[in-house]
């Protein structure tokens, strides 16, 4: 009986562990740039930025139909901890109706998965409060439109971007909390040493 219970616990914990490694688009958290190619991903390396080593994925095991750009950050220890998905441009729509509709459906889906979000929808003042200047406001930084989802394992932010006054995109940022914590520590110590 004891043996059966132990086996069940081991099976459950390994399944939970496998689940926590699972990142969006068929990727895995914590994998290195070399390991990620084994998952069927291809990428182009970018310059190191404030999130460490960065890549632009050119091929992924899974993609979302209206996603155009997927970026990955591997920190300073070559472990995938941050994924950013940016949609195609929803053009000729200053009201942002099409991109807002997509944003709302994604928000519902992410709420089902990660629980109740913290919503930050702030319309700009003056003309930016008018619906026809919605994307203008986002583009000028006068309107901000994003929703945060947080679990102990992951932080997800769904937001809107605007390229100009009539073209918008949705954006989702995923961050693995545990690896991000390690990255922040390394970053802090690097900054301390640099000063």
């Amino acid at each position: 009986m004891k043996l059966i219970l132990t086996l069940i616990i081991v099976a459950l914990s390994s399944s939970a562990l496998a689940q926590s490694d699972q990142a969006p688009l068929g990727l895995k958290w914590g994998v290195s740039q070399t390991e990620i190619t084994a998952l069927g991903a291809e990428f182009r390396e970018e310059k190191e930025d404030s999130y460490g080593k960065g890549v632009v994925f050119t091929k992924l095991p899974q993609v979302i139909a209206d996603a155009e750009i997927v970026l990955g950050s591997f920190g300073y220890n070559d472990r995938l901890y941050r994924i950013v998905i940016i949609s195609k441009s929803f053009a000729n729509d200053p009201f942002g109706s099409s991109v807002l509709s997509r944003y709302n459906s994604l928000s519902s889906l992410l709420s089902e998965k990660y629980g109740k979000p913290s919503v930050n929808h702030r319309l700009g003042d003056s003309i930016y409060a008018e619906p026809r200047y919605f994307l203008s406001g986002v583009n000028n930084g006068r309107t901000s439109w994003y929703t945060n989802f947080k679990t102990p394992e992951i932080f997800v932010q769904l937001g809107l971007l605007a390229e100009d006054s009539s073209s918008g995109r949705w954006k989702i940022i995923y961050e693995n909390a545990a690896i991000k914590k390690d990255f922040d520590k390394v970053k802090q110590s690097r900054e301390k040493n640099a000063l």
């Binding site: 996603a67 998905i85 459906s105």
Partner: protein
């Protein structure tokens, strides 16, 4: 010593022929110089400007090792180099009075009227305004994703400007436009198996 009358006459004829040749040659040279001075100085000005932009585009391209922004800067460089080559060819053809023909080009080579040039210049000014706005936007950020996207937008606008300049010089000096295809937006898109939102996210 007196020369025989026949030799004296031949000498006079030779002097007349020589003088006539010198005058004819000077007239042709004067005509050539007068004809080519104006277009050459105009072409030289345009070529100087294009070459300065080539130097600047090369310098910008060297800042990046790879990526979307670099690919657009390199595309701009190709357009500028093509413009420079066409202007140089035109300049040489004018100087040596060679008639250029472009049998494989789709668009006919002709000098455009002033109105057409003004329209292209207006288009060019609008594109420059857009690029300046994008530059101001990019300068607001010190790094990160938003700045990368703003820089990509600047690079795309600069490609549009270089293409419009090629169009303008082509219309102004009468040479056909070489078509260079810009990378499509989809070229940068991530490829892979499309899945339902629920499975992918």
């Amino acid at each position: 010593m007196r020369l025989p009358p026949l030799v004296g006459q031949m000498k006079n004829v030779l002097i007349v022929i020589l003088l006539t040749s010198v005058i004819a040659l000077a007239s042709v040279l004067g005509l050539v110089l007068q004809d080519t001075e104006q277009p050459n100085s105009d072409l030289d000005r345009d070529m100087t400007r294009v070459r300065a932009e080539i130097v600047e585009a090369r310098r910008e391209s060297e800042k990046y090792s790879s990526g979307l922004v670099k690919s657009f800067i390199d595309l701009r460089l190709s357009v500028l180099q093509a413009t420079d080559a066409m202007l140089d060819q035109k300049r040489r053809s004018l100087f040596w009075r060679i008639s250029l023909r472009y049998p494989n080009m789709a668009s006919a080579a002709r000098v455009a009227p002033d109105q057409e040039l003004t329209e292209i210049l207006d288009e060019l000014r609008q594109a420059e305004d857009r690029a300046n706005q994008a530059r101001t936007e990019a300068a607001r950020y010190s790094g990160g994703l938003v700045q990368s996207m703003s820089l990509a937008r600047v690079a795309i606008d600069d490609v549009a400007i270089s293409q419009l300049r090629l169009k303008f010089y082509s219309a102004k000096h009468g040479f056909p436009i070489l078509t260079i295809s810009a990378p499509k937006a989809n070229d940068s898109a991530t490829k892979g198996k499309i899945v339902q939102d629920r499975d992918g996210l």
